[in-house]
C-alpha cells in the first residue's frame, strides 16, 4: 500500500481532502476560464453563421455542454452514491450532495436554452418530445434528491437515502440518451457521434468541445467548493475544523 505513488485512501477522509480540494479549486477555475474564453471566442467570433439557422444556432455552445453535463453529473453522483453505500465513506455522500445543485442547474440551463433555441427554430418554446421530457424528468430527479436530503436531519441517513435514490434514478440516464432512437420525434438526432464523422463543421465541433470542457471544469470547481463547505459544516465539532477556521480567521 505504502509504495504506491499516492495513497488514495488517505484522501477519503474529510480532514485530508479539505486542504487538497482547496489547492485544486483555483486550478479548475483557471481551466474553466481558459477553456470558456477559447470556446466562446471560437463559437461566437470565429465560427461562421449557419446558412439554415442563422446566428441563433450559436446557443448550442451553451445548450449542448449543459445537457451533457446534466447527464454526466448525475452519473458521477450515482458513482459517489454507490461508493458511499459500498464502502461507507463519509466523503462520498458529501460529494454526491455537493454535485446535486450543479447538476440541477445544468439541467435547468439546458431546458432554458433549449426553449430559447426552439422558439425561432421550431416556432415553439416547448414540445413534448422525448428528449426534452427526459431532461425535464432529470431535473425532477435532481430536485427529488435535493429535497430528500434536505428533509433528513441526520447527515449519514441523508447520504444513504440519497444514494439509494440516485442509484434508482440512474436508470433514467439511458432512457434519455436512447429516447431519440426509441421515439422518433421532432428533436433532431445527435449531431456528434463517435462512430461516423460529425455532420457539423469541425470548427463548431471544437468550439462545442471547448465549452463542454469549460463546463466540466466549472462543475468540478463548484462541487469541490461546495463539498468543502459541507465538510466544515458536518465536522464542525472536530479538532481539525477548529484549526482550519482559526488559520483562515488569522489571515
Amino acid at each position: 500500500m505504502n509504495n504506491r505513488l499516492i495513497n488514495w485512501f488517505k484522501y477519503a477522509s474529510p480532514q485530508s481532502f479539505y486542504p487538497l480540494a482547496g489547492k485544486m479549486i483555483p486550478w479548475f477555475v483557471a481551466l474553466a476560464t481558459v477553456f470558456g474564453l477559447a470556446g466562446l471566442w471560437l463559437g461566437m467570433v470565429v465560427a461562421p453563421t449557419d446558412f439554415q439557422q442563422g446566428e441563433g444556432y450559436r446557443i448550442i455552445f451553451i445548450h449542448v455542454p449543459a445537457s451533457w453535463m446534466s447527464m454526466f453529473i448525475y452519473l458521477v453522483m450515482a458513482f459517489w452514491a454507490a461508493l458511499g453505500l459500498a464502502y461507507n465513506t463519509r466523503l462520498s455522500g458529501m460529494m454526491a450532495q455537493a454535485l446535486a445543485p450543479t447538476g440541477a442547474l445544468m439541467a435547468f440551463l439546458s431546458l432554458w436554452t433549449g426553449a430559447l433555441w426552439g422558439k425561432p427554430m421550431w416556432g415553439t418554446w416547448w414540445v413534448w418530445d422525448a428528449r426534452l421530457t427526459s431532461e425535464l424528468i432529470l431535473l425532477f430527479l435532481y430536485i427529488g434528491f435535493i429535497a430528500l436530503q434536505a428533509s433528513i436531519d441526520d447527515p449519514r441517513r441523508a447520504d444513504k437515502a440519497g444514494a439509494v435514490l440516485a442509484l434508482v434514478g440512474v436508470v433514467n440516464i439511458p432512457i434519455i440518451y436512447f429516447s431519440v432512437k426509441w421515439w422518433n420525434t421532432l428533436h433532431q438526432g445527435s449531431s456528434v457521434s463517435l462512430t461516423k464523422s460529425p455532420s457539423m463543421a469541425i470548427l463548431m465541433l471544437w468550439a462545442m468541445l471547448l465549452m463542454a470542457l469549460s463546463f466540466w471544469m466549472y462543475s468540478i470547481a463548484v462541487a469541490l467548493y461546495r463539498a468543502r463547505t459541507i465538510m466544515l459544516e458536518r465536522e464542525r465539532g472536530t479538532e481539525w475544523v477548529r484549526e482550519v477556521l482559526q488559520q483562515e480567521g488569522a489571515k
Binding site: 453505500l85 421530457t133 425532477f140 429535497a147 430528500l148 428533509s151 437515502a161 439509494v164 434508482v168 433514467n172
Partner: protein
C-alpha cells in the same frame, strides 16, 4: 420463500380489511379526480374521449401514490417493521409480500373501477378492455416503485409531499406506456407493443425494486 411472501401478504390483507375505509377513500379519490376533469374541461364527448386514457391513468397514478405511506408507516410506528428487518428471511421477500398486498387493495380495485369511469368518458368497448388490462399490468409496477419512495421517506416530516417528489418522476415511463396503450387502441393501432413494455416495467418493478426498497428500509431504521 414463497411461504414468507404469502404470509406477509395475508397479514397485510387482513390488516387492510380491518380498515376498509382507507381502501374506499383511495377509490373515491380516483372517482372524484376523474369526475373533476370533465367539469374543468367541458362536456364535449370528442374531447373527453381523447383525454380519457391520460386522465384515468394520471388519476390511478395519484391514487396509488396517496396510498403509499400506508405501506410501511403503521408497521414502523408500532415496531413491527423492526422485527421484520431482524427476521432471518431476506427483507426483499417481505417487501415483495407487502407490495403484492398493497397492489391487491389499491391497484386491483382501481383497475376494476377504471372501465366504469371510462364509460363516463365515452370510451369504446375495446378501449375499456385495454384500459383495464393496462392498469392490471401497470399498477404492480406503481406499487413496486412506489415502495422505494415510501421506504425512503419513512418517519420524515412532510413525508407525503416528499414521496410525490421522489416517486412521480419514476412513474412517468409507466404512465407513458399505460396511457399509450389505451390511446393506441382508440386510434386503432393496436396496444400489444405498449402492453409488452408495460409488462417489462411491471416485472422490473415487482422483482427488482423490492431490493432497493429493502436497502432503503434498512437505512431508515438504523
Amino acid at each position: 420463500m414463497i411461504g414468507m411472501i404469502v404470509a406477509i401478504t395475508a397479514r397485510d390483507l387482513k390488516l387492510a380489511m380491518r380498515r376498509q375505509a382507507d381502501i374506499v377513500s383511495v377509490l373515491f379519490f380516483f372517482i372524484i379526480v376523474a369526475s373533476l376533469f370533465p367539469l374543468g374541461i367541458g362536456p364535449e364527448p370528442q374531447l373527453l374521449k381523447k383525454l380519457a386514457p391520460g386522465v384515468l391513468w394520471v388519476g390511478a397514478l395519484l391514487a396509488t401514490m396517496l396510498s403509499l405511506p400506508r405501506l410501511f408507516a403503521d408497521d414502523y410506528r408500532d415496531g413491527t417493521l423492526e422485527q421484520l428487518v431482524l427476521a432471518p428471511q431476506p427483507l426483499g421477500l417481505t417487501v415483495i409480500g407487502k407490495v403484492i398486498a398493497h397492489w391487491l387493495v389499491s391497484g386491483l380495485p382501481l383497475a376494476l373501477l377504471a372501465p366504469v369511469l371510462g364509460i363516463q368518458f365515452d370510451l369504446e368497448m375495446d378501449a375499456l378492455f385495454i384500459l383495464t388490462v393496462s392498469l392490471l399490468i401497470g399498477t404492480p409496477a406503481l406499487s413496486g416503485i412506489g415502495a422505494i419512495g415510501a421506504a425512503l421517506t419513512l418517519g420524515l416530516r412532510g413525508g407525503g409531499v416528499l414521496v410525490s417528489l421522489l416517486v412521480l418522476p419514476l412513474y412517468i415511463p409507466v404512465l407513458i406506456f399505460g396511457a399509450g396503450a389505451v390511446d393506441a387502441t382508440v386510434t386503432g393501432m393496436g396496444a400489444e407493443a405498449h402492453l409488452s413494455i408495460l409488462g417489462a416495467l411491471a416485472i422490473a418493478g415487482v422483482f427488482f425494486a423490492p431490493w432497493a426498497t429493502a436497502a432503503a428500509l434498512r437505512i431508515s431504521l438504523e
